[in-house]
């Protein structure tokens, strides 16, 4: 029964606060209502959503949040374990059967192919408790090193750069509200006006001061906020962000805009950085990026001026990070911020905007291949000893580092690769790069288990689909984009047959005779996470549910006895000498290439109405009505030379695959670039075209500069017209 709760939105990392209250109409109540003869596609939600005042969203929500409750009693919900039969059709089985089957599959696989033949793919949407437990489950119950997660596709580059420069990675090392009074904000490849609209009011101060500077190849909704005196829009050609940042830094150095005192006291590597910047004078950078030299100079000067007025902030997003040189690009942004003395200042700073709901917490507690809880390195003997002690096991039981996501997915079904895979909170068939290859990999597995609440495209591939709880049906914590730990609260009882992933891991741990304790109670798991994280970089040991429930603002690191850390770096950086490290970086040679063959650069990204792979938002009627299909954004001039008119179907192809979708003509995109949202499956799936090439440091794939050829589609295939609300592969039987 719904009882309502104060909680946060299920979607992005802004984690807008919302209040859920029982819906007023009777028809909304679940349970003992007579089964209708024909179930409505979208039953009335059992809960009503209202915005709640909170520093991040101040009561605001976007469409995704407002409509989020409509998924709770959605009739596409999976409510029983489903086993795929030999006919390819999923049939319900009992939980007991499901657990038995999994335990047998794990044991069989490991007996034949070794422990690492079992793998886990997690998600940045999982609560801290689940993410923590999943890492522990993989290592102790499955005894495998092969665990990684979809955050590798989001935050890994910024995280690697942050760790390298600052010694720690917290997306925003300051509360979001610090931005309110800034006079200059440089947004690098981040489209918050679509991805997290309630964030936009935090940019208002900078816009009023004419200081919002947006770097984006597209005139995105966020870039449009710079019009009418709001600031500047820099439109580099895709894949050249790094050179652009070096050009801005060059101007800062040569025009004497550096914060010399800060550099001397708080950083290392300045002289080498200056030498590396020398080759990037604005006019040369103009020839690489297509951004006029005067805008490059202007940006540098405004940033420097902002420091002396209301403050300057540099914020990076996936647009500059999701590249094979993403770590270096994020590093270039950090270097620029260090030259200007922004990090650690009370009124200025650098940050990266985390994307997924728990993209921050999800990257701290052991879901990553190379990591143990508390943002510890799995190769660090002291870290291993600490975690082994908390888990009550011998250190030798903790496997070493595994494979990062793209490598993990490439290994599926291969000799010495993963043959039995668990997927939690991820829809890799839509969201992973080179998805045709990923799908082939999933089909080559001996056994695939997918935990989801809907029959996602990945679940449809699964041998076994396990129904798990949604956000309003569970307790837990998440860590938002500013490193603040917040509470997710249960507002209604999950449907019978649905279980939490904590419960699932606890039961499987028993069947697999795992050492240590696997609780299925979120608060107990959090208590263990506190101990495990104690002394680590992301130290949660001073945080408990009671204080979060009192509304206390808890920013990590929050060691026992402290009051947390709303602002990092005030007393120095997390390297042993307390200094930030400036690492000289240069564009990779890959960035220089010819477009003489009529190819275009494909950038992928988001729409306001959809979230991630769309597994949830494509099931919301209002959102689907607004954005029912993928549209290829193409410049009118580029379209004209290909005979494509607005609304025509176009094919987008390269050596990896083909996408068929409608074209939308717009001069918001550069003539050498096309844009596709990545929320859609099948023939509209943008990730059929992206390449599984990765950043050498972070393992981040290249999502933003795939080389593609665009043509007008011939006769419009019938399948292309069948858009609208998709019927899930499995529609559950009437109650």
């Amino acid at each position: 029964m719904p009882n309502g709760a104060d909680t946060h939105c299920p979607y992005c990392a802004l984690q807008c606060a919302m209040t859920l209250t029982p819906a007023t109409t009777d028809s909304a109540a679940p349970g003992p209502v007579a089964a209708p003869t024909a179930e409505p596609a979208h039953p009335t939600p059992p809960l009503e959503v209202s915005g709640r005042d909170f520093p991040t969203n101040r009561g605001g929500l976007c469409r995704k949040g407002w409509t989020s409750a409509s998924l709770l009693h959605h009739n596409g919900r999976v409510t029983e374990p489903l086993l795929k039969g030999s006919d390819g059709v999923h049939q319900p089985i009992s939980w007991d059967q499901a657990l038995m089957l999994i335990a047998a599959a794990v044991k069989d696989t490991q007996k034949q192919h070794g422990n690492d033949a079992v793998g886990v793919f997690g998600g940045g949407g999982l609560t801290n408790e689940k993410a923590y437990q999943l890492g522990k489950f993989a290592r102790l119950a499955l005894r495998t090193s092969r665990i990684d997660y979809n955050g590798r596709f989001c935050m890994s580059s910024a995280a690697a750069a942050g760790n390298r420069a600052f010694g720690v990675d917290r997306g925003l090392p300051f509360p979001v509200t610090d931005l309110d009074t800034a006079s200059v904000i440089l947004m690098l490849g981040s489209n918050v006006a679509e991805t997290m609209p309630p964030f936009v009011p935090h940019l208002q101060g900078a816009r009023d001061a004419g200081g919002l500077i947006v770097v984006d190849p597209r005139r995105s909704a966020t870039a449009a906020l710079t019009s009418d005196g709001g600031g500047l829009h820099l439109q580099p050609t895709p894949g050249t962000d790094l050179a652009l940042l070096l050009g801005i830094s060059h101007v800062v150095v040569h025009e004497g805009l550096v914060d010399a005192e800060f550099i001397a006291a708080k950083t290392t590597g300045y002289a080498a950085l200056v030498r590396s910047l020398n080759a990037f004078w604005p006019e040369r950078v103009q020839t690489i990026t297509g951004v006029p030299a005067n805008l490059i100079r202007e940006t540098a000067r405004r940033l420097a001026h902002g420091v002396r007025t209301g403050g300057s902030y540099i914020l990076s997003g996936r647009g500059v990070e999701q590249h094979v040189d993403g770590t270096d690009t994020a590093t270039a942004a950090i270097n620029l911020s260090l030259l200007l003395g922004l990090p650690g200042s009370a009124r200025s700073g650098y940050g990266t905007l985390t994307g997924q709901g728990n993209g921050q917490g999800g990257r701290e507690h052991g879901q990553k291949a190379d990591q143990l809880p508390g943002y510890r390195k799995i190769t660090d003997p002291a870290a291993r000893a600490h975690i082994a002690k908390v888990w009550g096991v011998d250190e030798s039981l903790i496997p070493g580092p595994g494979l990062p996501a793209v490598e993990l997915l490439k290994s599926l079904g291969k000799t010495d690769g993963v043959r039995c895979l668990f997927v939690h909170g991820a829809n890799v068939v839509v969201s992973a790069p080179d998805t045709n290859a990923v799908t082939a990999g999933l089909r080559a597995l001996d056994f695939l288990v997918v935990c989801d609440f809907f029959m996602s495209e990945t679940a449809a591939e699964a041998d076994l689909v396990l129904p798990v709880t949604q956000w309003a049906e569970e307790e837990g914590t998440l860590t938002n984009l500013e490193g603040r730990v917040i509470r997710r609260r249960q507002a209604l009882t999950p449907p019978p047959g649905v279980r939490s992933e904590l419960w699932l891991m606890a039961r499987l741990a028993e069947r697999l005779e795992a050492p240590s304790i696997f609780s299925d109670d979120p608060e107990s798991v959090f208590e263990e996470l506190r101990l495990a994280s104690a002394g680590g970089l992301a130290d949660y040991s001073g945080i408990d549910y009671a204080m979060l429930d009192r509304g206390e603002a808890a920013y990590w690191p929050y060691p026992v006895g402290s009051t947390g850390t709303p602002r990092l770096f005030g007393d120095g950086f997390a390297h042993s000498d307390g200094r930030a490290v400036m690492v000289p970086v240069t564009p990779s040679k890959r960035a220089v290439r010819s477009f003489a063959d009529d190819s275009l650069a494909l950038a992928t990204g988001r729409l306001l109405e959809h979230y991630q792979s769309g597994a949830q938002t494509r099931r919301v009627e209002a959102l689907m009505a607004a954005q029912p299909q993928a549209r290829l954004l193409i410049h009118p001039g580029t379209a004209a030379s290909r005979g494509i008119a607005d609304g025509d179907y176009a094919t987008v192809t390269n050596e990896r695959g083909e996408v068929l979708c409608r074209a939308e003509l717009s001069n918001s995109v550069r003539a050498d670039t096309v844009f596709l949202p990545f929320h859609f499956p099948g023939q509209e799936n943008a990730n059929r075209l992206t390449e599984a090439a990765t950043d050498p440091i972070s393992g981040m794939p290249e999502f933003k500069t795939s080389r593609v050829w665009v043509k007008k589609a011939g006769a419009t295939p019938a399948a292309a017209i069948a858009v609208g609300v998709r019927v899930p592969v499995y529609v559950k039987e009437a109650l």
């Binding site: 915005g51 009561g59 605001g60 929500l61 976007c62 469409r63 407002w66 609209p197 309630p198 964030f199 936009v200 009011p201 208002q204 005139r219 449009a224 906020l225 019009s227 009418d228 150095v253 040569h254 025009e255 004497g256 002289a271 080498a272 200056v274 030498r275 020398n278 080759a279 004078w281 604005p282 006019e283 040369r284 103009q286 020839t287 690489i288 990026t289 297509g290 951004v291 006029p292 030299a293 005067n294 805008l295 040679k589 290439r593 010819s594 477009f595 003489a596 009529d598 306001l608 109405e609 209002a622 607004a626 009118p636 001039g637 580029t638 004209a640 030379s641 001069n667 003539a671 050498d672």
Partner: protein, 520 residues
């Protein structure tokens, strides 16, 4: 014993080479010695004029740190010249009398300024002795001379209408000096631009405070200044241009005498093949300004159109990166592996973007043809190769001019004055050999005011006012009809304005309009 590489010269190109080889030095794979004639390690020569007008500092120009390199095991010799090279013994003989063995030798000797033949100047190319108040603006000491002239608001005469001359004059003028450019021909930049862009550029320079003396032939310098320093540049028509400092900006010439001295074939520069190897001596190489890539194979099509060294930095850096990889592979895996590396791709004609604050100019390729020059347009159009096409935009009143010369839609030449976005896009298109949009005017509008989002709002009732919550104007009006009369009430009823807040003014406008209409 690991292989010993000696780099002759320590400018920006050599610095890149050294940086790229450094990991192999650290690992002990190769030994590296670099010999620089100047007392400083490599610095960014491209920005010497900027330093001369006080827009940057010498520290910021550094491109190498000798002490750090030494600590990494590189043998750095500064303030030392290579006097000659003994090819037979594989020795370099240094000006300090020492002699050093090499296994591989790389010429990175760069270029030296051309000293024009003027009375009052010693034209000895190897070691010109210039009178006080005359500089070729090549190194840090020259920059210091310009710096003091600019700081004192002196009269600076720039001889030469090339890129560097224009940049120097404009920057000096903007920083307070009185600058005059003396050049031959009707407009500066000579054959690389056309008449239209030349006259627009000249006007822009004049507006920028630079005095332009075109069609001028200089014959000598007058040294009647204090202590026999420069006082005027003398022209062939008998006139003189008075000044306190003469900046010679008459181009550069590759420094090839060391290579010549040891019998290596040279043209304008030291001749090298596609692996940057000197002819007949495969363990000697040349990169940067001193190198002329023109292979001995007469049938090589790439080399038929090869030009002398460009004097631009980009090609030299690409050569340095390529050669570093070649040398490291050679040392590690042997000749066969090194030969298997892909040869350095031929350079495209260089792009010049004027380094200037007040003027925007980009030039590349051949810009001589006009739209109706049948002869020039047909040139090279044979056996199915399309003819050239020229599109042109001239707006001298507003200091704007663009010419695009294309073949098959791909740029062969471009010149853009006064249109920064257009220039930036054209250069990217040129560099990538991308096809231009059939409607060339698309490229001209990038700098236009219509490219900015207008603040005007449509009055279509079905239009979406609040994108975040997906609320139309009609729904907002309905809520007003139902009694909402403030932003807060409308938001509560419709959710409009609850996301990014960008539509608040719009909603207020709809409310106001509604009640105005009601009152009327």
């Amino acid at each position: 014993m690991s292989e010993r590489i000696v780099v002759v010269g320590f400018g920006p190109v050599a610095a890149r080479l050294v940086d790229e080889i450094l990991p192999a030095v650290r690992s002990g794979l190769v030994q590296l010695m670099v010999v620089g004639q100047e007392p400083e390690a490599a610095y960014n020569r491209v920005m010497v004029a900027e330093l001369g007008v006080g827009r940057t500092t010498a520290e910021a120009l550094a491109m190498a740190d000798a002490a750090e390199l030494m600590a990494d095991g590189v043998d750095v010799r500064l303030g030392v010249k290579v006097k000659r090279i003994d090819r037979a013994r594989q020795h370099v003989v240094l000006s300090d009398g020492s002699s050093e063995h090499y296994d591989r030798l790389v010429f990175a000797t760069g270029s030296r300024p051309v000293i024009p033949n003027l009375t009052g100047l010693n034209p000895d190319p190897a070691g010109p002795v210039l009178p006080a108040g005359v500089t070729a603006l090549r190194d840090l000491r020259d920059a210091a001379v310009l710096r003091s002239a600019v700081a004192d608001g002196k009269r600076v005469v720039v001889l030469g209408g090339g890129v560097l001359g224009l940049e120097t004059a404009l920057a000096a003028s903007e920083e307070g000096a009185l600058a005059t450019v003396v050049h031959n021909g009707p407009f500066p930049l000579g054959r690389s631009i056309d008449r239209g862009s030349g006259s627009v550029l000249t006007n822009s320079l004049r507006l920028g405070g630079v005095r332009m003396a075109g069609n001028a032939r200089s014959t000598g310098v007058e040294t009647a200044g204090p202590g026999g320093s420069f006082s005027a540049l003398l022209l062939d028509d008998g006139s003189a241009i008075d000044g306190d400092l003469l900046v010679l900006s008459c181009g550069v010439r590759p420094r090839i005498e060391l290579a010549e001295g040891c019998g290596l074939p040279t043209g304008t520069g030291i001749l090298v093949d596609h692996h940057l190897r000197t002819y007949h001596e495969p363990h000697m190489f040349a990169i940067g300004d001193c190198a002329e890539v023109r292979c001995p194979d007469a049938a090589c099509t790439d080399c038929r159109s090869a030009t002398a060294p460009s004097g631009l930095m980009g090609p030299g850096w690409r050569q340095a990166e390529w050669l570093a990889e070649y040398l490291v592979v050679l040392a590690r895996d042997g000749q066969a592996a090194a030969d298997a590396l892909e040869a350095l791709p031929p350079e495209k004609p260089g792009v010049v973007v004027l380094k200037a604050r007040g003027i925007n100019l980009a030039v590349a390729g051949d810009n001589q043809a006009d739209p109706w020059d049948e002869e020039l347009l047909e040139a090279g159009a044979a056996s199915g190769r399309p003819r050239r096409q020229v599109s042109q935009w001239a707006d001298p009143e507003h200091g704007r001019y663009v010419k695009m010369t294309t073949r098959g839609g791909v740029l062969e030449g471009l010149v853009s004055v006064g249109m920064p976005r257009t220039a930036a896009e054209l250069v990217v298109l040129f560099e990538r050999s991308s096809e231009l949009p059939a409607d060339r005017s698309l490229l001209l509008r990038l700098d236009g005011p219509d490219q900015l989002d207008s603040g005007a709002t449509s009055t279509d009732p079905q239009r979406t006012v609040c994108r975040c919550a997906g609320v139309s104007a009609a729904s907002i009006e309905d809520s007003i009809l139902e009694g909402c009369d403030t932003l807060g009430e409308v938001s509560k009823a419709t959710r409009a304005g609850t996301g990014c807040g960008g539509c608040h003014e719009d909603i207020k406008g709809i409310i106001e309009k509604h009640f105005q209409a009601a009152a009327a």
